[in-house]
Amino acid sequence: MKTMLNVALPKGRLGEKVYSMFEKAGYPCPSIKENNRKLIFENEEAGVRYFWVKPSDVAIYVERGAADIGVAGKDILLEYEPDIYELLDLKIGKCRMAVAAKKDFRDNMGRTLKVATKFSNIAGNYYRSKGRDIDIIHLNGSIEIAPILGLSDVIVDIVETGTTLKENDLTVFDTVVPISARLISNKASYKFKSSEIDRLTQKIAEQTEEQK
């Protein structure tokens, strides 16, 4: 029997792009393109099973072995630090984790900096590396309004085009880390399916090289 590779894909546009890379790499599953609400798709002949999951959950599926491999944003990997292998930078879904604040913001080193963010771990590590004392305010969305309402001095968040920031009169002060989609693998799965995973990684790496 052919070894099945279980792949967790992030729902949404990025996931569709990722699927087409997997398809080109020799892991097609035509049923995935049917317009329905199914979440699991299988092509036994190609030895692959795909499932759509919430982008921030991909790393959990992979770490816990429900998926052998998956594609997750570097932001999620840095925030949750899952125990996985990060095999490849897919160079898609590019954006950056940045520090933003109101245009007239002046950093006062003499007092604790109030930082609003969805990414408490990333923000904490970033300011710790700078030796800066901060007060983290963990928010789950609409981070941009925190400095406007005086809830925080700055925000640490993902910036793609910067339009949302501009519309809210905020500007980027610093880049914490560049972000892109990464191919990740469960450590145990890699041991038992290393030839399949290596072959797939190689095929996808060729595509990311072409994109350069």
Partner: protein, 372 residues
């Protein structure tokens, strides 16, 4: 010793103890508590942060053991050339990463402490192989050597304060970021490639040992190459040598570990089920002259693996207030003698699943339902 199916963790404990006993390892039984100070001093050695503490009657801050190795090291003495060979079967208390709550984990492991030579390292890793094949049919033991890896990192010229970062990338098999990081440090391409290729390694002794001999000669310490080759060859030629893989991504904290480190995987379990290595550096930190090598098997990994029966009991035998207690007991013993399990109740409990339902009526046992 090899089993076609994963064994429940209780059986595994007996199997493992039997193996260790045969090789002359003595059981080391310890107290559940330890002075908190020991963990405070060696915090980074612990796998999880967070220790359950309480104040003893004499006012001392105590902890429920989060780790066994530290206690064994603390309580054994340096003993010249002799090697103390010990094994344990203990519960430890750790914070589970996913739930952020404390979890009781049953651990079986062994430690060899003293003047560690090639044979002892070989014996301990060979026992790790034996332990691993007792856990399931398809397993893999990945082996790395921190001495060899450190030699390559030093040759490449990674600054001392960046070495941990490099180890982190290697542990993740994150070759793209490892290369980018080396580039940012201004390391020349040929050296970066050598480090990247070392980090990528995954294969059997036959695949990898010639590569190490060819590429790392003159770069890594000759002693490290020789001992790695000798031990891996000896392990690979043993009965279950086919499960050995060389993988330098098996890294551990270099502040405590040196030399061989290894991790075991059993198919169907998404994380490592066995972990071990040489921890001479920890010994040194604890002002000990001896070396040490050991490993632990995480039995909690097997909890969800053991096959769950579709039935709660083979036979449910219903009796009434008027039943003769001797008759129904005899009937139950007959069923047990047949190799089946039996539950005696006056009423059928909600949701109970049984293969056969028997009922005692007027001194006779009749079959009411048969699902088998």
């Amino acid at each position: 010793m090899k089993s076609a199916q994963l064994l429940p963790s209780e059986n595994l404990v007996f199997l493992l103890r039997e193996i260790y006993d045969k090789y002359g390892y003595s059981r080391y039984k310890m107290n559940k508590f330890e002075e908190y100070d020991l963990y405070a001093k060696n915090k980074d050695f612990l796998i999880s942060e967070g220790v359950i503490t309480f104040t003893d009657t004499n006012g001392k801050l105590m902890a429920l053991k989060p780790d066994v190795t530290l206690s064994i090291v603390k309580n054994t003495k340096d003993s010249g050339n002799a090697v103390q060979k010990l094994y344990y079967n203990e519960n430890v208390y750790r914070v589970s990463k996913g739930t952020h709550s404390f979890k009781e984990i049953t651990q079986v492991g062994l430690e060899a402490i003293g003047d560690i030579d090639e044979y002892t390292i070989f014996e301990v890793i060979s026992l790790a192989v034996k332990s691993l094949v007792s856990t399931g049919e398809n397993c893999i033991l990945e082996i790395s050597h921190l001495g060899l890896l450190s030699d390559v990192i030093n040759y490449v010229g990674v600054p001392k304060d960046e070495i941990r970062k490099v180890f982190h990338f290697i542990g993740e098999k994150n070759i793209h970021e490892l290369i980018a990081f080396c580039d940012s440090l201004g390391i020349e391409k040929s050296k970066t490639d050598l480090l990247a290729n070392t980090a990528k390694i995954y294969g059997t002794a036959n695949d990898i040992l010639p590569w190490i001999r060819e590429k790392l000669a003159g770069i890594a310490d000759e002693n490290n190459i020789n001992i790695f080759e000798t031990v891996i060859k000896a392990l690979s030629s043993e009965e279950n040598g086919g499960i050995i893989r060389i993988d330098f991504s098996a890294v551990d904290d270099i502040r405590y570990y040196n030399g061989f480190v290894f991790k075991g995987f059993s198919e169907g379990i998404p994380q490592s089920v066995l972990s071990g290595g040489q921890y001479d550096a920890l010994m040194k930190n604890m002002k000990r002259k001896s070396g040490a090598v050991g490993f632990a098997v995480y039995l909690d990994s097997f909890e969800n693996i053991s096959a769950v029966s579709d039935y709660d009991v083979d036979v449910l035998l219903l009796y009434s207030e008027n039943s003769d207690i001797s008759v129904i007991k005899k009937e139950a013993d007959k069923i047990i003698a047949d190799g089946k399990s039996v539950l005696l109740q006056r009423e059928k409990a909600d949701g109970i699943k049984y293969r056969t339902l028997l009922e005692e009526r007027d001194g006779e046992v009749i079959c009411v339902e048969n699902n088998a």
